[in-house]
């Protein structure tokens, strides 16, 4: 009976639902059951790691982190069927967050060895935990991270997790008797220019609310008599929230009860009202602030000073547990603005350009996957000149212009590209027609045109407009789409390059076996991890004529158009996120130690779960490479014939 009940419960709890009945029985007999009264601290941030995986059978817990300043940031509330404790169970020697019961809670506990065994023996379970590891915890902070205003300077931190409802409450709130007619209420709202009205009973207690929406939906649309009592259209129950609660909890409440307004109560008294609009404003503050900060700079020196803070931003985001792709997206956004500001300063300095131009970036910048500043990869596409004179003038202008931008970028911390993939290099500063010809020639003869530099040139396919006239870049992208159609040699050539960079599976085998000891070999996360994934996804995108340049956006667009992506898309995205995150953390660490940044990671520094995930990523890359080789076999033969 006891075990049967546990099994019946687990059948509906992911990831245990993936187990068959005998496995569930086996799991259940090894489990324990614990009871924690409300307010019990089960795990303590910085305290010993969890010894069990907890499955909440009944009740609920609050997961939160406490900052050095003693401020609590709620990560999540978890209830029946939710898990906790698995991060510290595998992820290290201490707990990463507080877990405190918010009501009496009964939990099933599973021993670490049991969970480890499940991870080893069941793919679905492993996948679930890996995803959780990458997402659940890490994800939380992103949404408000994105809207966080602490990027530069310290302009407040108006964010969901640290702003009390009381701070955003709309204090202009009117209460009217519920006996009032609809028309009277509408007049009152108009006169006071408010969009909602709280209705009170005879004892002046709030009983409901009406909003503009109710007027529209329940009165006008339904043709209701405006002399009806307003109580006939009011929404209730009235949900309350304490002024001291965090906005995050207000959002939760709104979602949970599907309401758009909450009554804010302070010390038992009505303090005002908070709407979903107020909360959205709160989340949206920061991009504006970031922009403002960059916009307000007048010279390169000011920008250079500001750009140093990008590292701080990354540090903060990493610490808060943002996802790698979200960090790079935010950083790209900031870099783009920085570049645009530099272009603006340059245009002011050298007078208006003689022709329209587009500033494009490629490589990791083009894919919005840059975090720590890497070499400049940029180019200029200028509009086609009509006369030779115009052409000469344009080349003269843009060479000076581009050199200034290049040096400004260096000042802002973006180093020279050793291969001179920069707009200041005449090869990378061309008219639209010249660029079109460049691409046409390359696509027609992929193996010869760029010779051995072929692999590196592929990053050019990730070009993206950042400043100037975007339509120039669009036209180039259009052309690329057209000339690639039916050009299977070019795609086949790229496929060959992509399939060539095999992941070091053997290397990892030893990593998996050897627990410690010296490894002379280090893993190059960029070359062996990111590059193959980027390359594979780029190949698929070119095939499918997808315009997106970032790997994750490409994957998203490919879902419906590529069989491999339909099947492995999520895995690819996870692997990519994971390796990016590892690399970011690695760079952050090197930065804090004052070391040069590299992409070499020592296997000893990885946890078992990380090793396991990397191994999965490598297997995935191999599988995709095999699939690609298989698919392009016939094409290669054609290619060989041609060359013969």
């Amino acid at each position: 009976m006891i075990i049967e009940d546990v099994v019946a419960f687990l059948k509906y709890v992911p990831p245990f639902q993936f187990l068959d009945e005998p496995a569930l029985y086996h799991l259940a007999v090894g489990m324990s059951m614990e009871f924690f009264p409300k307010g019990t601290t089960i795990l303590r941030q910085g305290g010993p790691a969890s010894r069990y995986l907890y499955v909440i059978k009944k009740g609920g817990v609050k997961v939160f982190r406490r900052s050095a300043g003693g401020e609590d940031t709620i990560i999540e509330f978890r209830g029946q069927g939710d898990l906790f404790g698995y991060l510290s169970l595998f992820g290290g020697d201490k707990s990463r967050a507080y877990v405190v019961t918010v009501e009496d809670a009964t939990c099933y506990t599973i021993k670490r060895e049991t969970v480890r065994h499940l991870l080893d023996s069941n793919n679905a379970v492993r996948e679930f935990f890996l995803k959780s590891f990458l997402n659940i915890y890490i994800d939380k902070t992103f949404q408000e991270m994105h809207g966080r205003s602490l990027f530069f300077s310290g302009c407040g931190d108006r964010l969901l997790f640290s702003t009390a409802v009381g701070e955003v409450v709309n204090k202009v709130v009117l209460t009217a008797p519920q006996k009032m007619t609809i028309r009277e209420a509408a007049v009152l709202m108009c006169d006071n220019k408010i969009s909602s009205l709280i209705l009170a009973d005879d004892e002046d207690k709030p009983v409901g609310i009406i909003t503009d929406r109710d007027m529209r939906g329940k009165v006008v649309a339904k043709g209701r008599d405006v002399n009806d009592p307003v109580s006939s259209i009011m929404s209730y129950p009235l949900m309350r929230i304490d002024a001291r609660d965090y906005c995050f909890e207000a959002v939760l409440k709104m979602i949970k009860y599907n309401v758009h307004h909450l009554i804010v109560v302070s010390d038992g008294a009505l303090a005002g009202i908070v709407t979903n609009h107020d909360l959205m404003l709160l989340q949206g503050t920061s991009p504006l602030l970031v922009a403002k900060d960059i916009e307000s700079q007048q010279d390169i020196e000011g920008l250079a000073a500001l750009s140093k803070q990008i590292y701080n931003v990354i540090g903060i985001l990493l610490k808060q547990g943002a996802r790698a792709s979200n960090i790079t997206r935010i950083v790209s956004e900031i870099s783009d603005r920085l570049v645009r500001k530099i272009l603006e300063i340059a245009e002011r300095r050298f007078a208006r350009p003689p022709l329209q131009y587009c500033w494009v970036v490629f490589g990791s910048e083009g894919r919005k996957e840059q975090a720590f500043k890497t070499d400049q990869d940029n180019a200029i596409i200028f509009a086609d000149p009509i006369t030779t004179y115009e052409s000469d003038e344009a080349k003269k202008y843009f060479s000076v212009f581009a050199a200034f931008v290049r040096d400004s970028l260096v000042q802002c911390g973006y180093p020279f590209c050793p291969d001179a993939h920069m707009a200041s290099n005449p090869r990378w500063c061309r008219s639209l027609s010249e660029w079109k010809k460049f691409f046409s020639d390359w696509v027609a003869a992929p193996a010869t045109e760029l010779g051995e530099a072929g692999v590196n040139s592929l990053i050019f396919l990730d070009f993206r407009a950042v400043g100037g006239e975007f339509s120039l870049a669009d036209q180039l992208r259009d052309l690329l789409t057209v000339i690639l159609r039916g050009r299977s040699e070019f795609i086949g050539h790229i496929a060959g390059l992509v399939a060539r960079n095999k992941p070091p599976i053997g290397f990892l085998k030893s990593v998996m076996i050897e627990k410690s000891g010296e490894h002379k070999d280090k893993l190059n996360l960029k070359v062996k991890g990111l590059a193959p994934l980027v390359g594979i996804v780029r190949l698929f995108s070119l095939e499918a004529a997808i315009r997106e340049t970032s790997t994750l956006e490409r994957l998203d667009a490919l879902k419906a158009r590529n069989d491999d992506v339909a099947e492995y898309g999520e895995e690819i995205a996870h692997a990519f996120e994971f390796i990016m995150l590892l690399r970011l953390q690695h760079h952050m660490e090197q930065l804090s130690r004052g070391q040069e940044l590299d992409n070499l990671i020592s296997p000893d520094s990885l946890t078992n779960l990380q090793k396991k995930t990397i191994k999965e990523a490598f297997n995935l890359i191999s599988r995709l490479q095999e699939s690609i080789s298989e698919r392009y076999k016939p094409l290669k033969r054609v290619l060989t014939c041609r060359e013969d």
Partner: protein
Amino acid sequence: MVIDENMAITHANYVVIDIKLSGLVEEKNSILSIGAIMMSGGRIELGETFYRLLTPDDESPVANPTVPGVAQASLLLEQNRAPVLSEFLSISGNDILLGHLVSTDLAFLKNEVKRLIGTEVKNPVIDTYQIYHWIMRHEASGAFYTPRDVKLNEVASQLGVAVSSNHNSMNDAFITAQVFQRLMPMLIRAGVKTVGDLLRIGDPSGGLR
């Protein structure tokens, strides 16, 4: 059998038992079933259970009205009582035995063990009924208090433990374990932290008067 009285109650091992009898007269009646589940501190070990049904040693009918839920399981009855009792003793070891209104059950157990195996049951024993009322009195802090809830189900409901209608000794042992699990944090809050204290306030002999 010495138990460390200074051990924290959260570190002690408990064997939570429930015993069904064919009647209350020791000379005539006997044990019909034993259910037990282990606890390590406040942790109920869900897989560590013991449940045996025994043929009555007396003339009383199996479907004794005081023993609900026994009749339907009669097919599984163990014919030989001594091995079952030995097995129970071996899984109990030196751990603390714990039951609800356990004194009568305990008297039968001690008696049968002595008669059939020839040894003494020396484990310390505590009664959740006693603990519950001690806590209630304590929380009423000196105010006049009359025990109302007596039966396991009443106490369980009072503490928020889900009860089932199936009162076999395995289920009841499990419910008793959950009752104790909920009492434990209350005990600690009330200052009852060591096994010694627990044995004093949970002594079954203070039972129903």
